[in-house]
């Protein structure tokens, strides 16, 4: 029998954590070992499939921060620990973790864009000597939209330099404004060219953050972004994620900015 790269495998849900009303973290039993930034296809028979980033990994499990937005994700929200989710993957190319070694790392996230970088941030937190420094700018629309409260607190208390912000609202210890506003506060000059920038969030946030970074003299080839596109197969067959000659499911979702800036749909 030929191998079937789109075969969904049943996995048990171990734990569900409500990060916000609409965003829950599902811990699922599996031995699959994805790289930070990769994604999996989650599937419910009778409903369909959805690509979801791996947001955490541990011994024998993976975590997925899922936002309830439609058909598949709504039904996933009806599941309880002990129920079955179907998984296939991992797919795509994740963050260039090797590239970050011994560099100053700047991570800029918008909303649930924190999910696809959480696994990488955890690695940098666990191995403080891996890079020279970590600056994290995380923006959320409002208080209700904040996810990974515990991680944000842990990173802030640890060695990361953090700026947490709400778009318009006030919150104690937090800043107010879009993430782009804080780009100039990163001590770019002190990095002496030895840095890498990771950006992930909704499409307009990534676009404007890219432009703002370049305006602040950040070199394009040192910026990385994760793209979200409609996907049906995740294995380069269905065509939904294609932009020019690029398949986001295969060649991405993470791209260097020199490539990303030309990925105009």
């Amino acid at each position: 029998m030929m191998n079937n790269p789109v075969m969904p495998i049943p996995c048990e849900i171990l734990k569900i954590t409500h990060e916000s009303d609409l965003e829950w973290n599902f811990r699922v039993k599996t031995d699959v070992k994805p790289a930070p930034g990769q994604f999996m296809q989650l599937s419910i028979p009778m409903v369909g499939e959805a690509p979801i980033s791996v947001c955490g990994a541990g011994d024998g499990y993976l975590e997925f921060l899922i936002r309830s937005v439609g058909k598949v994700t709504n039904v996933i929200f009806e599941k309880k620990p002990g129920d079955t989710l179907f998984l296939r993957g991992p797919y795509g190319k994740g963050w260039p973790v090797e590239e970050l070694k011994d560099k100053h790392v700047v991570v800029i996230t918008g909303g649930t864009g924190l999910a696809p970088v959480r696994m990488m941030l955890d690695k940098l937190y666990e191995e403080p000597d891996y890079c020279k420094s970590v600056h994290l700018i995380s923006g959320f629309k409002n208080e209700e939209g904040i996810v990974f409260h515990d991680d944000l607190a842990k990173w802030e208390a640890g060695s990361f330099e953090t700026i947490y912000a709400l778009d318009r609202d006030e919150k104690e210890g937090w800043r107010t404004g879009l993430v782009t506003t804080f780009v100039k506060e990163i001590p770019w000059k002190e990095f002496d060219g030895n840095y890498a920038v990771v950006v992930v969030g909704p499409p307009p946030m990534m676009k404007f953050t890219g432009l703002e970074l370049v305006k602040n003299g950040v070199e394009e080839e040192k910026i990385w972004m994760s793209f979200e596109r409609k996907m049906s197969c995740a294995v380069g067959k269905c065509g939904h994620c294609r932009i020019d000659e690029v398949y986001v499911c295969l060649d991405g979702p993470v791209f260097n900015y020199t490539k990303a800036k030309y990925l105009v749909d």
């Binding site: 030929m2 191998n3 079937n4 790269p5 789109v6 075969m7 969904p8 049943p10 028979p45 009778m46 409903v47 369909g48 499939e49 936002r67 937005v69 439609g70 079955t84 179907f86 909704p202 499409p203 979200e228 596109r229 409609k230 049906s232 197969c233 294995v235 380069g236 067959k237 269905c238 065509g239 939904h240 294609r242 020019d244 000659e245 398949y247 499911c249 295969l250 030309y262 105009v264 749909d265």
Partner: protein, 343 residues
């Protein structure tokens, strides 16, 4: 080795072949055409030589046999997915050079892209034996010569249909026994060397020219003209895109099938994602996406153009948009941009 067989002899050969093979060829379906009193010619199983339409190009491509508009890929219950059963009998597929070459194009996506081999395409391709139908010249929408897809040697047999019989070249020896006793002939298939319609595929030297071409006003013409029906991509010999959908059996909601259904980049919603984001919101932008894929993007990734020049998209378009004119306009726009950018 080549042979001449009378139509009667050919029918005998065909019935012998049918003991082992399913035979698919273009077949006429009377009065099912787009306009009243017109027929449709599409691929179907055939059992008689007379069923095979050889003197007209089929309205729909041979890909439908290998890569149907809709197929079940899994059967599922609440706790298990099982791959659907595939076709089991080997297939003889009658096709013109464009349709055979189109499978080279589809295979790069289904068999190779990203290092993933698609089970459903692969298991079907294993069963396929192409029978080349010598092309008597196509029609005024064809431009295979411009695309270099007018020739092929990917066939087990080649046939030329005539009034009183068929000439057959048997290239794969395993088919020779079927022709025992038939008259020898010196037939080898001829290929179309020139089409009435010619196309110049634009040279797009770099991403800046590409970006300017995407933003060129030429695409706005299609905002009004193209009705976004997707008929062109369904008729296309090489389009591969699909969507996955689950279908539940009426009586028993616990079991069902996961289907693969042909999708069209020309229809709004093809690229919509959560949060109300979507790309290519106008018919012109979607036209640009399709045409650049066929005549540029695919080549950048795989080394050859995606279009095989079959002209079916032109024939099927209810808005009478000819692909050849669109590519011509794109080539002119590319030249204009290169001049502006000094390239």
């Amino acid at each position: 080795m080549s042979y001449f067989v009378t139509t009667e002899q050919a029918n005998q050969v065909l019935s012998k072949l049918l003991e082992t093979y399913d035979v698919y060829a273009p077949k006429r379906f009377p009065k099912q055409g787009r306009f009243s009193d017109t027929d449709i010619i599409r691929y179907a199983k055939v059992e008689k030589v007379d069923d095979i339409v050889y003197d007209e190009k089929s309205d729909f491509p041979a890909k439908e046999v290998i890569n149907p508009i809709q197929q079940a890929i899994f059967y599922f219950t609440e706790d298990e997915f099982r791959a659907s059963k595939g076709h089991t009998r080997p297939i003889l597929l009658f096709a013109r050079p464009c349709d055979i070459n189109a499978q080279k194009v589809q295979a790069r996506i289904f068999m190779d892209n990203g290092g993933y081999q698609d089970l459903y395409y692969a298991r079907m391709r294993e069963l396929i034996n192409f029978v080349l139908m010598e092309c008597p010249g196509g029609d005024d929408t064809c431009f295979c010569c411009s695309m270099g897809t007018n020739k092929t040697d990917n066939y087990v047999m080649a046939v030329r249909f005539g009034e009183d019989g068929l000439k057959v070249e048997v290239k794969d020896d395993k088919f020779a026994p079927y022709f025992e006793g038939a008259a020898a002939d010196d037939f080898t298939p001829k290929f179309v060397e020139e089409n009435q319609t010619k196309v110049t595929v634009p040279e797009i030297p770099d991403k800046d020219v590409l970006l300017a071409l995407k933003n060129h006003p030429m695409w706005r013409e299609f905002d009004k003209r193209c009705v976004s029906c997707g008929a062109c991509t369904i008729a296309c010999s090489t389009c591969t895109c699909f969507t996955t959908r689950d279908i539940v059996y009426g009586q028993n909601p616990e079991v069902g099938e996961r289907h693969r259904i042909a999708a069209s980049c020309q229809i709004d919603g093809f690229s919509d994602i959560a949060g109300g984001f979507g790309y290519r919101k106008t018919a012109g932008d979607r036209m640009r996406y399709k045409v650049l894929h066929k005549f540029h993007d695919y080549k950048v990734r795989f080394g050859e153009d995606m279009c095989v020049g079959c002209g079916r998209c032109t024939s099927r378009c209810p808005a009478y948009i000819p692909i050849t004119a669109t590519v011509g306009k794109m080539a002119a726009a590319a030249e204009e941009i290169k001049k502006e950018q000094g390239k």
